[in-house]
Amino acid sequence: MVNAINNALDIKLKEDDNVIVYGEDVGVEGGVFRITEGLQKKYGADRVFDSPLAESGLVGTAVGMAAAGLRPVIEMQFSGFTYPGFNQIISHAARMRNRSRGKYPMPIVIRMPYGGGINALEHHSESTEAIYAQIPGVKVVIPSTPHDAKGLLITAIESNDTVIYMEPKRIYRAIKQEVPEEKFSIPFGKANVLAKGTDVTVVAYGAMIREVQKAMVLAKEAGISVELIDLRSIYPIDRDTIAESVRKTGRIITVTESPRSFGVASEITQIINEDAFLHLEAPPKRVTGFDTIVPLAKGEHHYMQSGEKIFYEIEKTVKY
């Protein structure tokens, strides 16, 4: 996935000199996860560079650049360090287009590694997609494969709206996959049905897809047929694909690694109630972290969703 993201940035940097890539340590070092490695050498320090250590500064200057016609792609070192920039995201990046009645669109991409599973320090393991998804004016996407990472990032950079592009850092280097060399894009707002099934619909995204796939092995053994939907786009959300699936299976589980309450799972449950109420045969289930701070590395396994845990919940839902 690291290479795919780098490649998408490379393609857009080459193709469009309005694209500017910056953030803490993204220039010389290529970012703490080496996502931007080599890009400064290739495109120069006025297009790919280190910023001072200040997240409000990062987002705020991106708002200005976007107003002036550039297409900034900024990196937050970890999703947990985005908060100092929250005001600039919610008050400006998300609003300038509406405020100015379309005069100043905000083609900004805010990239951020998110999620747990890498034995990191405090604040390095958070999944905050539901915070951003409720901000009117931004879009939120999360890839689960190198292929999607590339396609979604191309779309994000070409979007004239601010996109929160969240990278499941746990699988940065976990999945090997052939990704087309050339440019391609994946539309926002379209979920991807990764596996067809009949007994239960499982919606997930990011690093959780892999865990669901592990659960599906167990489910298969138990004779349960799972339909797996990779959400890809948290906002706008693809309600049609989810509803269609549930109209078939009658059961749905949403798997996320964020806290339980007020999260993406609840939103999907609401959508299903609105769009497929009469087809529901069991309560829509959320399989998520707890309403707690992600524990530090030694306790993180309690918080994260594993294949086994997901299978446990699948079985319960199917038996309901």
């Binding site: 500064g57 705020g60 200057t61 002036a68 009645r101």
Partner: protein
């Protein structure tokens, strides 16, 4: 200028005194008389607009409004120094500069009447909408400055903030980024001595604001913000430096908010009559008029005539704004995204269905 008035020397850059007399010829700008007269006229227009708006507000014809009363010289000088291609990044108390950039008074009214259309600035070039979250706009100015430098354009950013705004983290990050990136941005701090009710001494223990430039390695200068000539000269010089690639300048414009913070505020709660009277002596219009009169460039009669004319013009634009009409449902939705998400379109449809039902019930 920036050496002579290095903020560490604790001198204020001032060119005329309260009686309109030139007290510093070295830096006095070489301006055609018409330009000076037109500055005065613009200040008068801004003040007239302000005064009338406050009274409209009392009549319940417009919502909250933040008057510029007492601070007109700053915005008007900036308005004259800014070129068409230069960028203006306003806070919300720079009426004169907005007008100079081509924003219509009607748009300003629309905004404070509660229409986003008032921020569309249809005929203005390179002006961001007013920014309500204090100090946040300064970073936008720096981002624009980056674009100017990157594209090697001959443009300058004029970014405004108040004294209260200098306490926000964004002020710090903005001036600091500007220093590191060496971008053509002029930060204009209108130090009008108050946040809302909070006096300047409760915002910071520093000796003024210009001195804060030292923390960022950028040029700084404290200017008498009620002295049109001083503001004009300082802004011109800062813009020149910016155009020559010499980066940002932090200008502290010392002034006084003679009116209320907004029409919902009552300053008698937190300041004294004496203080107000003391500052009255420095009023920017009075001073410039005294200068003009001493040069026989302007008369009270002309002023009276103009004032009448301006009142009518203000009234005309106000009434136009008042008749702007209802707020279409469309306008709630259409500007959020380039392509409206399906879900949002559905919300719009649902709402329109409700409106029909409501209509039918009548």
């Amino acid at each position: 200028m920036f050496k002579e008035f290095d903020p560490l020397k604790k001198k204020t850059f001032r060119l005329i005194d309260n009686s309109g007399k030139v007290i510093n010829t070295k830096w006095f700008p070489d301006l055609p008389n018409e330009k000076i007269i037109s500055a005065y006229k613009d200040m008068l227009f801004a003040r007239t607009a302000d005064m009338q708006t406050v009274s409209y507000q009392r009549q319940g014809r417009i919502f909250t409004y933040p008057p510029n009363y007492g601070q007109e010289a700053i915005a008007i000088a900036a308005g004259q120094v800014m070129r068409k291609e230069d960028w203006m990044v306003p806070a919300f108390r720079e009426l004169g500069a907005l007008l100079a950039k081509g924003v219509s008074l009607k748009e300003v009214f629309l905004y404070f009447m509660g229409y986003e259309d008032g921020s569309a600035y249809k005929d203005a070039h390179h002006v961001l909408p007013m920014s309500v979250p204090i100090a946040s706009q300064l970073l936008h100015g720096v981002g624009i400055g980056y674009e100017i430098k990157y594209r090697k354009k001959d443009e300058v950013v004029f970014a405004f903030v108040g004294d209260g705004g200098t306490s926000e983290g964004d002020f710090h990050e903005a001036v600091n980024f500007a220093g590191v990136w060496n971008v053509p941005v002029i930060f204009i701090v209108q130090n009008n001595q108050y946040g809302i009710s909070t006096p300047f001494r409760m915002q910071t223990a520093s000796d003024g604001i210009a001195i804060k430039s030292v923390a960022y390695g950028v040029r700084g200068i404290q200017v008498d913000g009620n002295d049109y000539f001083a503001m004009y000269a300082a802004l011109t010089e800062a813009a020149k430096q910016a155009r020559e690639g010499n980066g940002p300048t932090l200008i502290e414009a010392v002034t006084y908010r003679k009116g209320a913070h907004t029409t919902s505020d009552d300053p008698t709660k937190y300041r004294t009559k004496e203080e107000e009277m003391e500052w009255d002596k420095t009023d920017p219009l009075t001073r410039l008029k005294k200068y003009l009169k001493s040069k026989k460039l302007f008369t009270d009669k002309e002023e009276d005539k103009l004032a009448e004319q301006y009142k009518k013009e203000v009234e005309r634009q106000f009434v136009e704004a008042e008749n702007y009409g209802p707020y279409p449902v469309e306008d709630v939705f259409q500007y959020h995204y380039e392509d409206m998400p399906g879900d949002l379109a559905a919300q719009k449809n649902d709402y329109e269905r409700f409106l029909k039902w409501k209509e039918a019930r009548k």
